[in-house]
């Protein structure tokens, strides 16, 4: 069958195409309608949403860290300031393979693998996304130059200038002012994330820690326009930060140096207080360390050296060193005995060289084995007679003794603004039952009377207990900050003053303490030779290793580090107390022989003028009045 011949029908073709053109036109119009609908949806219905999105893209809020408050000593000498420093910071999100970039940094700056480990740790602590994390501080000129030259290999890495804490006095105030360090992850959880958004360092110890909120200030803000790469193009709005408050310390750099000199390189602690105000004039814990090391991150090696040193330079002996107060507590115990009426100024105790409880064989020995014979209060303090105080403590009983000692601040934190302070321990019946599940034994009361046994106190607490004797029971919590931005720190939790039934008891004990220094048989009379003023003092020893019954302390047999700690507390001038000093010399053995001269030197430094005479303002007319009252 022949195929039908196809003839091209142009009319038909044209019609066909025209039909398709019409269809195409309709489709085009319909689809453009779809596009317009879509754009209407985006630009009208979702306008708010996209508008916000685009604004958030563009506007970033950048924190401006406030400048930290400065710290001065009481004379205006700068103790802590802020110094510009260049640090290397890295933004993980902009670095791409940041691990590799770290390698390049280590290579460019010729650092060690240990440094790299630290960098990596710091990077992992990074906080918000796109936030630069400082990884290396205190860049030298050369390091900055090397970074600049290799910038092309270091995406997301920049050299940033910032203010870092600096302690121009070095080790002098390491234990009082403390130091700052990088915010760690634990601190991060408790900090206000807004206020600390631009801050990398925080006070770790001491004043820096205690007054952190005041010193830090309030963060400021900058609303900046950034491009997609986070580069800041212009500032839209700025809220200035409120700088931290300046702090003036009650510490005196000269007295501090004098105290350190008086300790003469021995391990130990010194606190000097103004009893009338509670201001701490000097605070020494020796050995000390350079707080500047910690500010920008201490190397692991340097830190372990400090930490593992047998001399424990990081240990704050003033606030955390717990020692049995030994005989230094006797003035306070004497006040307790007088006020409770178990002794009077004239009542006497016979001392055969030991004390025995009725029906007990055990002999509680006086330090002077031969005994002092009949002893009254004045002599008891002067001679530091243990037998008298065994008797006193026995008559007083643990409950009253404990209550009185608590009034003197033993077993609790006494300071106003010292962060690390340890409360120490003043045992009670309840305490023993709770911790040892044992009843209280009468013998334990006796040894508390001479400051031994469970009792533990810090050099600061001993200073405060002594200050209370000097100040006749008026409580002023010891504090390091004289003023914060011109205002005196407030005591939110004041201790009640010690009110005695007979206020002249204070004078009686004061007199006994003067006898220690100036009496013919005073235990520390050598320390008062040539003094331009009357000193009231009391020595003590804190045992490091217990001595068995009947055994004698023989220094030749005891290792140096196991020797007793020498303690001494005192105030001067005795009739117009201006300064209270508490000294602890580690393994110094003799309170009166080793610690007392230290106290004397510090008092001299504070009370005497250049010519070696008592400063006029301290030789007050009160002395006449005081002697009159004494009679």
């Amino acid at each position: 069958m022949p195929q039908p011949i196809r003839i091209k029908d142009h009319e038909k073709d044209a019609r066909l195409v025209r039909g398709r053109v019409v269809f195409g036109a309709i489709a085009v119009v319909a689809l453009i309608g779809v596009l317009i609908a879509r754009l209407y949806f985006l630009q009208v219905i979702q306008y708010e949403y996209h508008s916000t999105l685009s604004e958030n893209n563009r506007v970033h809020v950048q924190p401006i860290p406030p400048t930290r408050g400065l710290i001065f000593d009481r004379n205006g000498v700068v103790v802590a300031d802020n110094r510009p420093s260049f640090s290397l910071s890295m933004t993980r999100e902009r670095s791409g393979n940041w691990q590799q970039v770290l390698d390049v940094i280590v290579e460019v700056l010729e650092l060690t693998p240990e440094d790299r480990v630290i960098f990596e740790k710091r990077m992992r602590q990074g906080r918000r996304p796109f936030e630069p994390v400082p990884i290396l501080f205190e860049l030298t000129e050369e390091q900055i130059a090397r970074i600049a030259v290799n910038q092309f290999r270091l995406p997301g890495v920049e050299v940033v200038a910032q203010l870092v804490r600096h302690y121009p006095q070095g080790a002098h105030f390491a234990h009082s002012v403390g130091y700052m360090g990088r915010i760690n992850e634990k601190e991060l959880k408790t900090l206000d994330p807004v206020n600390y958004s631009g801050t990398h360092h925080i006070g770790k110890t001491g004043i820096e820690r205690f007054y952190e909120p005041e010193l830090h200030g309030q963060v400021g803000y900058e609303e900046v326009e950034t491009n997609a790469r986070g580069r800041v193009l212009r500032v839209l709005k700025r809220t200035d930060p409120i700088p931290g408050k300046d702090i003036v310390l009650s510490l005196d750099i000269k007295l501090q140096e004098a105290a350190e000199a008086a300790l003469g390189g021995r391990r130990g602690a010194v606190v000097a207080l103004d009893p009338k105000t509670g201001e701490v004039l000097a605070m020494v814990s020796q050995p000390s360390f350079d707080p500047n090391l910690f500010v920008t991150g201490i190397s692991f090696k340097a830190y372990s050296e400090l930490r593992d040193s047998i001399d424990r330079p990081l240990f704050n002996r003033v606030l955390r060193g717990l020692y049995p107060p030994g005989s230094t507590i006797k003035p306070a115990v004497a006040i307790a005995g007088l006020d409770a009426g178990v002794v009077t100024a004239s009542s006497r105790v016979y001392d055969p060289g030991y004390y025995q409880l009725p029906n007990y064989d055990h002999k509680y020995r006086n330090w002077n084995r031969t005994g002092d014979g009949y002893v009254d209060l004045d002599t008891a303090i002067m001679r530091s007679n243990d037998t008298y105080f065994y008797d006193l403590a026995h008559k007083l009983g643990i409950d009253r003794l404990s209550a009185y000692m608590s009034k003197f601040g033993i077993g609790q934190k006494v300071s106003l603004d010292m962060f690390e302070e340890s409360p120490g321990l003043m045992p009670t019946r309840e305490w023993k039952r709770a911790t040892r599940r044992q009843a209280w034994f009468p013998g334990e009361t006796l040894i508390l009377g001479i400051g031994q046994g469970y009792m533990q106190s810090t050099p600061l607490q001993l200073a405060q207990a002594t200050a209370l004797v000097a100040n006749k029971g008026v409580w002023n919590r010891p504090h390091l900050a004289k003023t914060v931005e011109g205002e005196r720190p407030k005591d939110e939790n004041p201790m009640p003053d010690i009110v005695l039934r007979d206020p002249s008891d204070w004078t009686k004990v004061n007199h006994g303490m003067q006898q220690v220094m100036h009496g013919a048989r005073g235990t520390a009379r050598k320390a008062s030779i040539g003094a331009q003023y009357r000193i009231a003092g009391k020595s003590g020893t804190a045992q490091v290793v217990a001595i068995k019954q009947g055994e004698k302390y023989d220094r030749s047999k005891v290792q140096e580090r196991h020797r007793d700690h020498a303690l001494f507390v005192g105030f001067a001038p005795a009739d117009n107390p201006q300064i209270v000093v508490s000294v602890m010399v580690e393994n110094g053995e003799s309170g009166s022989g080793v610690a007392a001269p230290v106290v004397r030197q510090i008092m001299d430094a504070w009370l005497l003028d250049q010519d070696g005479r008592l400063k006029a303002e301290y030789a007050s007319p009160i002395s006449a009045e005081a002697t009159a009252r004494e009679e």
């Binding site: 195409v17 754009l39 630009q43 996209h50 893209n57």
Partner: protein, 381 residues
């Protein structure tokens, strides 16, 4: 009943047209006005999108000039002449694509260029954008319409060859445009509806197969990101999120010229090329985009009028296909930037920066003008 001849002679219209310079230069007035308007507008948008780069503007203007020359030159050729040389062009084009496939240079991670250093550097696939529909139109114009299955098959083969070569480059955007260019000829040629519908029905299993066997990872990623841009907001989803934010934040009237933060602060990627509509949307708002769409609609309308008025079947098929393909450009680009379609590399015609695309587009309009201005008056009904 008047003869056609009388009607032509008595027509004032014809008399006037003959007199015009444009007519003698084979230039279509409405198309030219619309194209110049677009070009002028595009320079404003481009100036903003490029971050006030005069350099870029100068290059774009130059390209536009070259494109205009190319358009005018092409308009001088009679469609008949074109039809004669189309098969040769097609063969050369396919050969060049093979050359690119074998030894092409790497540019933008995809091999698309022929580069004879110091002489010429171009993308053969660009030529195919015009040659493809022209070839199919040439082929179908000789057959009876609607095309028979056999002719459809041969047409599909002619389309498929360059399509596959371009997909392999890989350049999904261009290959789809070339596919569209060829397919629209078949459509204009009256391809039976039931075949069209069956192809659409078959597209589902085919696309599934493509997903597993043909598509590159980055193409798959684009599709995945299209389906859920938020899944990777800093990576591949970034483009879409940012372009939507740019358009959306423009609102009805826009943020004002040069005041678009998304583009000026570099949040918007490729802001002067494929994503330039987002800049327009951000700075001129819904009003600005609608104005642009109106110009496009007028251009397409004129193209369809030319299609309807074309005297030869070759002219009809080619003009129709070029016009519809032009619309595909517009729709796919705006669709992808506004998040309706996946991101495929299709520039916004006449607005996006890029010389090659501009020259190709203007050449296509040259073809349209040629079809329209070389009509024989005698045959006009």
């Amino acid at each position: 009943m008047k003869s056609n001849f009388d009607r032509i002679l008595s027509s004032e219209d014809v008399m006037r047209r003959r007199a015009t310079l444009l007519q003698r230069m084979h230039i279509d007035g409405p198309l030219l006005i619309l194209l110049l308007t677009l070009a002028a507008g595009s320079l404003f948008v481009l100036y903003s999108a490029s971050g006030k780069s005069w350099d870029l503007l100068a290059k774009q203007t130059t390209s536009f000039g070259i494109g205009l020359v190319s358009m005018i030159v092409i308009a001088q050729f009679e469609p008949r002449f074109m039809a004669r040389w189309v098969p040769v062009g097609y063969v050369i084009g396919v050969l060049l694509l093979v050359v690119v496939d074998v030894m092409g240079h790497n540019a933008m991670g995809a091999t698309r260029w022929i580069n004879i250093p110091g002489v010429i550097r171009f993308q053969p696939s660009e030529f195919m954008k015009i040659l493809m529909p022209a070839t199919i139109a040439w082929y179908l114009a000789k057959r009876s319409l609607p095309p028979q299955l056999k002719h459809v098959g041969i047409s599909l083969f002619l389309i498929g060859l360059p399509f596959i070569l371009i997909v392999r480059q890989p350049d999904l955007g261009t290959s789809l445009l070339i596919l569209a260019g060829g397919a629209f000829v078949l459509f204009m040629g009256g391809l039976r509806w039931r075949w069209i519908l069956s192809v659409i029905a078959a597209a589902v299993p085919v696309s599934v197969a493509m997903w597993y066997f043909v598509m590159h990872d980055y193409q798959k990623q684009r599709v995945l990101t299209f389906l859920d841009p938020e899944s990777d907001p800093l990576g591949t989803g970034w483009n879409i999120i940012q372009s939507k934010a740019a358009i959306g934040s423009g609102g009805v009237f826009g943020k004002g010229w040069l005041l678009g933060t998304q583009s000026h602060l570099d949040f918007l990627p490729e802001s002067h090329t494929d994503f330039i509509i987002a800049v327009l949307g951000e700075e001129f708002g819904l009003v600005g985009i609608c104005a642009l769409l109106l110009i496009y609609l007028l251009l397409i309308g004129r193209g369809l009028v030319i299609t309807a008025q074309a005297q030869t079947l070759f002219g009809k098929l080619l003009a129709g296909s070029l016009t519809m393909t032009f619309f595909v450009y517009v729709f796919v680009n705006i669709g992808m930037v506004s998040g309706l379609l996946p991101v495929v590399g299709v520039p916004l015609p006449f607005i996006s920066y890029g010389g090659t695309s501009l020259v190709t587009l203007l050449s296509a309009f040259g073809v349209l003008m040629s079809i329209h201005t070389h009509r024989k008056w005698i045959a006009q009904v």
